[in-house]
């Protein structure tokens, strides 16, 4: 018998952004057969909190509003994205990301580790260990979603390349290729997009390298083929379409910090008490909701991660 032991950070399936949308979407996909055929290689995810069998009976529950949900929330997670490599409007990535070629894909690993080299996605992310993680995603712009990622703990990935004791931080870069990423024609951000974590943050079990969403491969606009997800930090820490992982001694200078150091910090922990200079972070709008809800310290993952920042001034280290 397979017993799913719930972790304290696990959300329930009904926390997922517009569950009805997800259900209707599946139905839509089955009916249309278009998307399903397009991305034939659906991921095999063992031990899911949400299995397809469990979901199907629920479909009927939403019978009344099914059509409406299917239409007005169609592809929320894949249709509303900040991914400036494909344009700065929220609906640009879904329109433009088709030009990204994710197969083959290689990731360069260098710096203070025992096994530097060039790896394929399959080398780094063991598909037999994929888990579904339903996480809240809080954007620094004060909106949020709940997303069922598929991935592995980042520690699993990093342990394969064996960082040594000199590695204090891990640094990531997104692909740079103007042909595949039309948004890079402009200089809104100094490309490549750069992000980083302290080693203890990177090795924390909540931090994942995601390769899928809703049990399927990541859509290009969500950062295919592999992206970082750090659920207690603002969304911009989740660097997408990663081509480089470096183990470094010094705190990396990340993209948004470079752009506006007074507005975006290295830590970028979700913190309702530390406002962005131009707006409050006390509340957020969950996509699909009308009003705002209170933002939770560490995006609600404080029980698991607060110890990482013991004794730190979080106002200064924002």
């Amino acid at each position: 018998m397979l017993i799913k032991i719930k972790n304290s950070w696990d959300l329930n399936e009904n926390d997922v952004t517009s569950e009805a949308h997800y259900l209707s979407r599946r139905k839509f996909i089955r009916a249309a057969g278009v998307l399903g055929a397009g991305s034939a290689a659906n991921l095999m995810i063992p031990n899911l909190g949400v299995s397809q069998e469990e979901l199907m009976p629920g479909t009927n529950m939403y019978g009344g509003s099914e059509l409406r949900d299917e239409q007005n929330t169609l592809d929320i997670i894949t249709g509303y994205n900040n991914f400036y490599e494909f344009g700065t409007n929220k609906d640009d990535p879904v329109a433009n990301a088709h030009t990204l070629i994710t197969e083959p894909w290689s990731v360069t690993v260098d710096g203070h580790c025992d096994n530097p080299g060039v790896y394929s996605v399959e080398d780094l992310v063991d598909h037999s260990k994929l888990e579904e993680r339903i996480y809240r995603m809080r954007c620094v712009e004060a909106w949020s979603m709940v997303i069922p990622w598929a991935g592995v703990s980042l520690s699993e990935v990093l342990n394969k390349v064996k960082p040594n004791s000199k590695a204090k931080y891990v640094y990531f870069e997104t692909l740079v290729d103007k042909k595949q990423m039309p948004g890079q024609a402009g200089n809104v951000i100094k490309w490549p997009y750069r992000e980083g974590l302290r080693m203890d943050e990177a090795m924390h079990p909540l931090t994942i390298m995601a390769v899928g969403l809703y049990g399927r491969k990541l859509a290009n606009q969500n950062g295919a083929p592999l992206r970082l997800v750090v659920p207690w930090k603002y969304g911009f820490k989740g660097v997408k379409s990663i081509v480089k992982i470096s183990f470094v001694e010094r705190k990396p200078n990340t993209s948004w910090m470079r752009l506006a150091p007074n507005e975006y910090g290295f830590y970028a922990n979700v913190n309702p008490k530390v406002p962005h200079p131009r707006w409050s972070q006390a509340k957020e709008r969950r996509i699909g909701d009308f009003g705002r809800r209170k933002t939770l310290m560490f995006n609600g993952y404080g029980e698991q991660v607060a110890y990482l920042y013991d004794g730190m001034n979080l106002r200064r280290n924002f």
Binding site: S65, R68, D69, Q71, N72, T73, L74, I76, G79, Y80, Y84, T88, K90, D91, E141, W143, G186, V188, I189, L259, A260, P275, P277, R278, W279, S280, A282, K283, R285, I287, G288, F290, G291, R292
Partner: protein, 210 residues
């Protein structure tokens, strides 16, 4: 009598062009609220904020274009300035209402904090507050009643537009292309006025010398 000429007049065209985006937005909002597909993205309130904000800035800039165009092109368009200014007020009002009602739903704590502590919001609020007396005194009888003071009061439009463009620039996260274009247009429009006033000053000085 309604003649064809009147129906296809510039005034009607301006009304249609100015109200068109509002009607389009209203239609999209109606689709959104009735659950139909719409183009307001998954976060419609954010979309409405951007749309009405940009609309306000553009209507203000268009209003400021009227005088130079009338003079340079010798067109008789000054009479449309008031109409365009009132549309700027309409867009500003929608932007303000969207912020107060849809976005923050009268969350006074957050709104007061925003207005007092965040310069960009302070500028936006001052700009909107200044637009109110201009809209209120835009009727012909007020114009007559106020005499010279009317013109003095309505010079506020320069400060309002500067504040609005600055607010727009400050609120953008990284992609400043659009607000930069707005700022450049404003700079040209203001330079024109400085130039005209300088010419006036020069000629009046010459007269005095003569």
């Amino acid at each position: 009598m309604i003649t064809l000429e009147k129906v296809f007049s510039l005034r009607v065209l301006l009304h249609l062009l100015a109200i068109g985006p509002v009607l389009w937005l209203s239609y999209q909002m109606w689709l959104w609220l009735s659950g139909a597909p719409h183009v307001l993205t998954a976060n419609p309130i954010e979309y409405i904020t951007d749309f009405t904000g940009r609309g306000t800035v553009r209507m203000l800039l268009i209003t400021l274009c009227v005088t130079p165009l009338a003079k340079l092109g010798k067109w008789r368009i000054l009479k449309y300035r008031r109409l365009l200014g009132l549309y700027a007020f309409l867009y500003g009002m929608l932007h303000f209402l969207n912020y107060m009602v849809l976005d923050y739903f009268f969350d006074w704590e957050l709104i007061i904090e925003d207005v007092l502590e965040r310069k960009a919001i302070t500028f936006g609020m001052i700009a909107f507050a200044c637009l109110i007396p201009l809209a209120a005194t835009s009727f012909k009888f007020m114009m007559k009643k106020m005499g010279k003071n009317w013109q003095k009061l309505h010079r506020l439009i320069y400060i309002i537009t500067i504040l609005a463009v600055t607010h727009n620039y400050m609120m953008v996260k990284a992609d400043v292309l659009v607000p930069t274009i707005h700022a450049m247009i404003l700079a040209i429009l203001l330079s024109y006025r400085v130039y005209v006033n300088w010419l006036k000053y020069k000629t009046s000085n010459k007269k005095r010398v003569a």
